[in-house]
């Protein structure tokens, strides 16, 4: 067996996170976390709401201390970094939508240069070049003079990522960067993150609820479960069945073939489907959604669906019925069932 000996950029070993009160009492959100991330990796942090993803990210970003154990950045405990040193190694993008009037895209990205500039924040020519490059990197070239308040949520999130890039750090931590975005923006943002990690050798850690994009793009997943936190390539976690534990005792189960969650249904009705091609596949999906179990042997007593796109035929009991869409087919099945 081969194990990599690369330097751990972020590492936690038996670290407990949570809140310590002045009275001495503490509220441990998650204990005994042992995970790490390497150079050039896109790491997705996944877990149910309230499991402590934000707390973990805030602790790694240095906004709050650990309850016990430590977080190491490049092998050195985060507590031993001065806040300015940390800002040169690690940048942060929060889940909050920033509303500032009359702030241009360029000026917002330029704020990323904060730890590099002098007392007055004077931008040198090299700073300006880097800012332009970061704006280009997230695909917003030409947006420099637009006001941030007039951007869409997706564009705004890209600007925030460009700002983190402009900080020019080895690590970027993002708290749910795709939370408010539509599907295409979700994919685009995660794809940009993946590209930045692999091309620029950055270590990028982000939390998300969107499993399919995380599985498609990330190199490593930190999976926060109720009792433990485990890590691995997304495929490792699919194969060892860990994903199924995200939502225990709920109506969701993890489909190991599709790599996504599905709602558990009680299949009371059975059907056989004949046909081929794409229409055949999607007809099966539609029938499963409507509570049918699909069997292969043709039993005379069950419903038989014949797919001859763009026409569907149901052979059941007496006479066959023809349909020209899956929608009308499903409606017929549901009505005849009642």
């Amino acid at each position: 067996m081969i194990s990599t000996q690369q330097e751990k950029i972020i590492s936690l070993e038996n670290t407990s996170i949570g809140y310590k009160w002045k009275s001495g009492s503490q509220n441990i959100v998650k204990s005994e976390i042992s995970v790490h991330a390497l150079k050039g990796e896109l790491v997705a942090l996944i877990g149910e709401n309230g499991v402590g993803k934000s707390t973990l990210l805030k602790t790694i970003a240095g906004f709050q201390p650990t309850v016990s154990g430590e977080i190491r950045i490049l092998g050195k405990s985060i507590l031993n970094y001065h806040e300015k040193e940390l800002a040169l190694l690690q940048s942060f993008v929060s889940t909050e939508i920033i509303h500032v009037t009359n702030l241009s895209v360029f000026d917002l990205v330029a704020l990323g240069r904060y730890p590099h500039t002098n007392w007055f924040g004077k931008l040198l020519a090299s700073d300006c070049d880097l800012i332009e490059e970061c704006i280009l990197n997230v695909g917003l070239k030409g947006y420099e003079n637009r006001l941030v308040d007039h951007l869409s949520d997706g564009e705004r999130q890209k600007v925030m990522i460009a700002r983190a890039l402009a900080q020019n750090t080895r690590i970027i931590v993002l708290d749910e960067p795709t939370a408010f975005l539509d599907l295409s923006n979700k994919y685009e943002i995660v794809h940009i993150l993946h590209r930045l990690a692999s091309e620029k050798g950055k270590t990028i850690l982000f939390s998300t609820h969107d499993l399919s994009t995380a599985i498609a793009e990330s190199d490593r997943i930190w999976l926060m479960l109720n009792d433990t936190v485990c890590q691995g390539a997304p495929e490792d976690l699919i194969l060892n069945g860990k994903f199924s534990n995200i939502f225990p005792n709920k109506q969701l189960y993890f489909d190991q073939e599709r790599g996504d969650f599905r709602i558990r249904k009680e299949n009371k009705r059975i059907a056989t489907v004949k046909g081929n091609g794409l229409a055949f596949e999607w007809t099966i999906k539609a029938l499963i959604r409507n509570g049918y179990e699909i069997i292969t042997s043709s039993d005379e007593s069950c419903i038989q669906v014949l797919v001859e796109y763009p026409e569907w035929t149901i052979i059941h009991k007496s006479k066959p019925a023809k349909f020209n869409s899956i929608l009308t087919l499903c409606r017929f099945l549901n009505e005849s069932d009642e």
Binding site: A61, G62, D107, Y114, F120, G121, Q167
Partner: protein, 342 residues
């Protein structure tokens, strides 16, 4: 973009002396422009009465207008940025009333202890110090509240409640004071632009200078505060230190003006918005100077209007600033409501 900002700053720098001269002309006693220039540049040849009016009354009043407009606007700008609240300002969140509480405690409290000290025994410096401490404490109180409550309107209502509570405390203090200290306090509460003497200006001017200078020097902090404290910290800013610096400047600016001119409302809220709109920028290295210029100009205009040119009546300047500022505040509320947020 930067060009625009520089043009706007140049325009306001040109308008400021123009309105300064106009403010010197306007008053119950008519003084012509040549006379004014005569007094300003060749006072030995001018009529002594005119010199007296200009040097003892109109120039101190115009300078006070410039100082108070600049100070309140910069205080408002800093509060709006640090609290991330477009409706923050020294008057509306009770910082000005905190200053008056400080002065009330000083005048009425020491007066009571000393058995009837009069206002002259309380020096200008101690009044300014008391006012700045009072406004600084209210800023800390608002900071505590706003760390728990994020809703902008709620903070605003709490600010109004704080102001009312402080006025009540001041009223109670007055009730328990003896006649002579009460009289000196009431005289203080009637303070206005015109009541500031040349001697008091020697206290007011350095206070405002220090406050605005500190604000300008903390431009970079303020820029980072725009994104909120977590972002600011992630960019390597020492949030506690930066907040302390900004609060120091805000307390000095709001406190010293309130100490001498009494509470003046709505300049602090309105001017930063005008500055942001005029410059189309959110960078504080530009917004601080712009707020100084626009604030000073707004106060000069308010003072000119309050003279009711052509009549012998004088309006309280606080009413004029309210009438100028409130439409802008209403516009901010409507604009933000249309976007369904603040």
């Amino acid at each position: 973009m930067n060009n625009r900002a520089l043009k706007v700053l140049a325009l306001f720098s040109f308008l400021l002396p123009v309105f300064f001269i106009i403010d010197l002309i306007i008053g119950s006693y008519y003084i012509s422009i040549p006379e004014i220039f005569g007094v300003l540049f060749n006072p030995s040849k001018a009529e002594s009465q005119t010199v007296l009016i200009i040097s003892q009354f109109r120039i101190p009043k115009a300078i006070t207008a410039i100082l108070s407009g600049a100070a309140l606007s910069v205080a408002g700008l800093q509060m709006q940025t640090v609290f991330r609240n477009p409706l923050a300002g020294p008057y509306i969140l009770g910082v000005s009333s905190g200053a008056s509480l400080g002065v009330a405690l000083l005048v009425l409290g020491t007066g009571g202890l000393l058995g009837g000290a009069i206002i002259s025994t309380v020096s200008s410096w101690s009044i300014v110090t008391a006012a700045c401490i009072g406004s600084g404490l209210i800023l800390l109180l608002i900071l505590m509240i706003s760390s728990r409550i994020k809703e902008i309107m709620t903070i605003l209502i709490l600010g109004i409640l704080i102001s009312s509570a402080i006025s009540s405390i001041v009223n109670i203090l007055q009730y328990f004071s003896n006649e002579s200290t009460l009289k000196s306090f009431v005289v203080w509460t009637m303070g206005s632009l015109g009541s500031v003497t040349n001697a008091q200006l020697t206290v007011l001017f350095p206070s405002v200078l220090v406050g605005t200078l500190v604000a300008f020097l903390s431009s970079k902090f303020l820029d980072a505060f725009l994104l909120g404290e977590n972002y600011a910290r992630s960019m390597g800013m020492n949030v506690r230190f930066a907040r302390l610096i900004v609060f120091f400047s805000t307390a000095i600016l709001a406190g010293s003006i309130t100490a001498f001119c009494g509470p003046i409302g709505f300049i602090g809220i309105a001017v930063p918005h005008i500055a942001r709109m005029a410059l189309q920028s959110a960078r504080h290295s530009l917004l601080v100077p712009a707020s100084i210029l626009i604030g000073a100009l707004m106060m000069l205009i308010s003072d000119i209007i309050s003279q009711l040119p052509g009549s012998e009546h004088i309006l309280p300047v606080n009413s004029v600033t309210a009438l100028l500022g409130i439409p802008i505040v209403i516009w901010i509320i409507i604009r933000n409501n249309n976007r369904n947020r603040l």
